[in-house]
Amino acid sequence: MFTSNHWAMLHAMSRRLTGYAFALTRDRDKASDLVQNAIIRAMESRKVPDDDVAFRVWIARIVRNLWIDEHRAHLRQNAWLSASHPEGADFPADLPSEDLILNRMVIRQAFFALGTDHRDVLALVDIAGFSYDEAAKLLDVNRGTIMSRISRAREKLLRQLSDEGIVPLRASAARRGRHDG
């Protein structure tokens, strides 16, 4: 049963939780519905974690599972990160500038162009605010896997910002040469 403590925890994480749902759904209304449905599901649970971390992981997992259920067919057609990107991540040769990365529309466009797997793990850490350990618990993988997935997602994001013309290329050849050399 939900207690006042659970509601307080939900209060504290509601913005981040909805942000995570928004990252998954790409739609404000759907994100709101997803979180609300998750809370309904949570409220129906007979066993609700009392620990703060366990509760946050638990409720975010409900959000994620509901979203996966709703998009199962679509997800089948899009392999998850571990299958589709086995190689390690590296810095793209052409770095976008920090100023342009900070441009909200630019980063938003690039982020939503990512595959669901990349968005999912990035959103858990960067938007929902989970630590690697917490995200690992949520996804039932080890911490190293999260670290690897996060870096690959960021690498993909940077590559999109640079390679797909969303952001003009700014990195100088001289700088790259120094780095590569």
Partner: protein, 270 residues
């Protein structure tokens, strides 16, 4: 010490603060010594901040508007949620009790104890609440003004009656509308719906939220609906609870109710 190359994965974890202290120190020294690494860290930090900001676009779900109850509004989930709370007031002790109702699921709206005001009518009243202030919203002058006793109670919370109007409901019945405003722009409307045919049974107070609107309704010889926007929840509950008590209980001492209401003067949330 900094001869080992720093991988992208390590840098990524570094900006997340997820490296061990020893590893973080090693990377920190490498970054300090290498402008290229420093720029990569800067880019990753900017990227992280940019992604983090995306989450803010959705805005939080209003958790404080949630109660352990769900219902459907006109066949569609009411913003995914609605809240229903039973509020009882002890005039003698001047104590307010706010007690969530039991979980009943989507059956609630169809429940006979709540069915006195239809969804269509609630929507009409919500629309009337949101549009009042405009000349066109002035209602039929033949509609009886709101009960002065209730107006006195609402005034005790710092809200003053500024206009009256009316709303024609689905059944053709006209509901009176009394609009109140506070010094900090809090707005509240009280709708009174006369009984048609049989006098409605006394029904308990139900408080719900529809998006940003707070809606309270109950019955006592007639139907009552109170609507406000962004009002402090405790204040709204105190007002609705006092009005319910005043209309449902004979012989209740208004001074006790007004004493409680005089404490309910929190600023509106918006």
């Amino acid at each position: 010490m900094t001869d080992d190359p720093v991988s992208f994965e390590t840098l990524s974890a570094y900006v997340d603060g997820e490296l061990s202290p020893k590893e973080a120190a090693r990377v920190g020294q490498a970054v300090a010594a290498d402008p290229v690494l420093a720029r990569q860290v800067s880019v990753l930090q900017a990227l992280r901040a940019g992604v983090s900001a995306i989450g803010g676009e959705a805005g939080p779900v209003q958790v404080d508007a949630l109660e352990p109850k769900t219902r459907r509004f006109g066949g569609r989930r009411l913003a995914g949620f609605a809240t229903v709370a039973m509020l009882s007031l002890s005039p003698a002790a001047g104590i307010l009790f706010f007690q969530p109702a039991e979980m009943e699921g989507d059956r609630v709206l169809a429940g006979s104890h709540l069915a006195s005001t239809s969804d269509v009518d609630l929507r009409r009243m919500a629309k009337a609440y949101e549009s009042w202030g405009a000349p066109a919203s002035q209602g039929d002058a033949t509609v009886a003004p709101t009960d002065p006793r209730l107006s006195r109670m609402i005034a005790a919370t710092g809200l003053r009656l500024v206009e009256t109007g009316s709303v024609t409901l689905q059944s053709g019945i006209t509901a009176s509308q009394a609009n109140y405003i506070g010094p900090n722009s809090c707005r509240l409307s009280l709708f009174e719906i006369p009984a048609s045919g049989t006098v409605p049974a006394t029904t308990p107070l139900v408080i719900e939220t529809l998006n940003d609107l707070q809606i309270a309704r109950w019955s006592a010889a007639r139907h009552y609906v109170v609507i406000s926007h962004d009002m402090n929840h405790a204040r709204f509950a105190a007002i609705a609870g006092s009005l319910t008590t005043a209309t449902q209980r004979d012989g209740v001492n208004d001074n006790n109710l007004i004493a409680v209401l005089s404490l309910a003067r929190e600023h509106c949330l918006g």
